[in-house]
């Protein structure tokens, strides 16, 4: 599991200077655009060339038409709003619990002994398999989707929080001890900040997991949402609609990740300059 998305690999880019930086910036924008355009050309070309029927693989135009009807004429907004709502509430819930439980577990050996085996067992459970149970317990309304999202994004962040706090520099902890600092102060002044990089990396990973949870929840039973849209379109072989909904989910994931990354850079400001620190 790629739990440790290192935040430093991102910040390394900031150290390059001048023209090299501009060139670097330009190519990082242009090259992926070229890949993207090539992909579109291959898509449209092969669908036309091999006369693939629309219900198997649509042309670009029908997808754009659905997107237009969805977002300009507004047919898709209720679904987008539904998925967004369950994702945001579930994400906040799951992430809050992950940080609180993760921090408590990292700090208290006793608590760890009590709950660690349980958490390992839960972590090994394929969360999707539990979705039908959650439907029975929480109903077919939005609450089951929220629980599903929270369950999905809990573990990546939980693991990162525990790792982040456990990796606190022992020299820092010793320093605090030598000045008679009580444990809570060391936690508040040193450990939480030291773990911030890991926690933000976890928050970033959890965005994708949250969307996954929302879609699975809607697959199992819902009357609205992007996931539900995909499933109901499947019944009528409406592939352009499926493409449009999937694209919407991709955009949601990208925007969410970008927001978390932005906040990460703002909050964990000391990691950006860590490259220049003389040790």
């Amino acid at each position: 599991m790629s739990d440790h998305v290192s935040a430093q690999s991102v910040s390394l880019r900031n150290d390059t200077v001048g023209r090299q930086l501009n060139m670097e910036k330009l190519t990082t924008v242009i090259y992926p655009c070229i890949t993207f355009i090539a992909l579109l050309v291959i898509w449209e070309g092969s669908v036309t060339l091999f006369r693939v029927p629309d219900y198997i693989f649509p042309h670009i135009m029908p997808v754009l038409r659905v997107l237009y009807a969805g977002y300009v004429e507004g047919e898709m907004y209720p679904h987008l709003a539904y998925t967004l709502k369950s994702t945001l509430i579930g994400y906040s819930l799951g992430c809050t619990l992950a940080i609180i439980i993760g921090a408590s577990l990292a700090e208290s050996r006793t608590f760890e002994k009590f709950v660690f085996p349980l958490i390992i067992a839960l972590q090994s459970t394929p969360k999707v398999a539990v979705a039908p149970l959650i439907m029975i317990w929480c109903g077919y309304g939005i609450s089951s989707k929220i629980v599903m999202v929270a369950t999905m994004c809990f573990f990546p962040l939980f693991v990162n929080t525990v790792t982040g706090i456990r990796q606190t520099d022992p020299a820092m902890v010793n320093m605090m001890r030598a000045f008679s600092a009580p444990g809570w102060l060391t936690f508040y002044r040193v450990k939480i900040f030291g773990a911030a990089g890991h926690i933000f990396a976890g928050l970033q990973i959890s965005i994708v997991f949250a969307l996954l949870g929302a879609v699975v929840g809607e697959f199992v039973g819902a009357a609205s949402g992007l996931g539900w849209l995909i499933q109901s379109a499947m019944v009528s072989f409406n592939t352009p609609m499926m493409f449009a909904a999937i694209l919407s989910l991709i955009v949601l994931g990208l925007v969410g990740t970008a927001i978390v990354r932005f906040i990460h850079r703002r909050v964990v400001f000391w990691e950006r300059s860590s490259g220049t620190t003389a040790h």
């Binding site: 020299a171 010793n174 320093m175 000045f179 008679s180 600092a181 002044r189 911030a196 000391w270």
Partner: protein
């Protein structure tokens, strides 16, 4: 504020009295040692059986003295400091700071400077200096003047609101020194504070440290593996043997103060260093 401490009669071995004299202790005339280590042994458990880090070590440090403990890497110097800082517990023997036996709890009248600056990167220089105040749950606002005064002393008055990453290694270590002095401790423990710095910065820091201490008058136990550094700074140099560490020689350094960069070029200085180096090799 350092003059407000109550008079502390010499010879009091009571823990509470030693604690209450925290603030003024550095100014008091006292004949009994600030630091007394008697037949101290520290043994670590390891998978290959017990390892003796420090064996039967005895030393004392008096008011206002600068004493260096000089020894090769791995001779137990840092273990000794760990016991005196209250981070480690002695296996045998005793260590007492201001007459309070050290039992794995830090003494409030002690400041520690570590090998690495160990500044918190998310706090400004000023907030870093105030960490010990926060740790002792005193009011930070009462110590702001003192913090700025210390920043002036370590020549960083312009950097109060900077973050550690914006400072050079030498500057960071000076912040570490200011932090160790914020609560006006009677004793400062320094664990190879300049070891991570380049040779030029290191020499300059030695001169500056001497200047700073001339103004503050604190007692210092300084741990190092550099002979010139020990000779330049100290009133006494204690040579330690390789593991298990014990004191093999107590050398008084009579070079006149203030010592300056030129002192290091004097023949007396070289002679003392040479004599110590001979001991080192044995």
């Amino acid at each position: 504020m350092s003059s407000t401490g109550s008079f502390h009669p010499t010879g009091v071995s009571d823990v509470a009295a030693a604690d209450s004299a925290v603030v003024g202790a550095s100014l008091l005339p006292r004949s009994d040692p600030v630091l007394k280590v008697n037949a101290l042994s520290v043994v670590y458990a390891s998978s290959r059986g017990p390892i003796k880090a420090v064996a039967d070590l005895t030393l004392s440090l008096h008011q206002g003295e600068f004493v260096s403990v000089l020894g090769p890497s791995g001779c137990g110097k840092s273990t000794l400091l760990g016991v005196l800082a209250g981070l480690q517990v002695a296996t045998k023997g005793s260590a007492a700071v201001f007459d309070r036996p050290m039992m794995g709890r830090p003494h409030p009248n002690v400041g520690v400077v570590f090998q690495r600056p160990t500044l918190l990167p998310w706090l400004s220089v000023l907030d870093n200096i105030l960490i010990p105040i926060e740790a002792m749950r005193r009011r930070k606002s009462d110590y702001l003047d003192r913090a700025h005064e210390l920043l002036r002393l370590v020549a960083l008055e312009k950097y109060a609101s900077h973050y550690p990453a914006e400072l050079s290694g030498g500057m960071q270590q000076r912040v570490g020194l200011a932090r160790a002095m914020i609560h006006s401790p009677g004793l400062i423990l320094m664990d190879e504070p300049f070891a991570a710095l380049d040779a030029m910065t290191r020499e300059r820091m030695s001169v500056e440290l001497q200047e700073i201490l001339r103004e503050s008058g604190q007692s210092v136990l300084f741990i190092t593996h550099s002979i010139p550094e020990a000779v330049f700074l100290s009133d006494r140099v204690l040579m330690m043997s390789a593991s298990p560490g014990r004191i093999i020689k107590d050398v008084a350094i009579d070079l006149p103060r203030p010592r300056v960069t030129a002192t290091m070029a004097q023949s007396e200085f070289a002679e003392i260093c040479g004599a110590l180096r001979k001991l080192y090799i044995q």
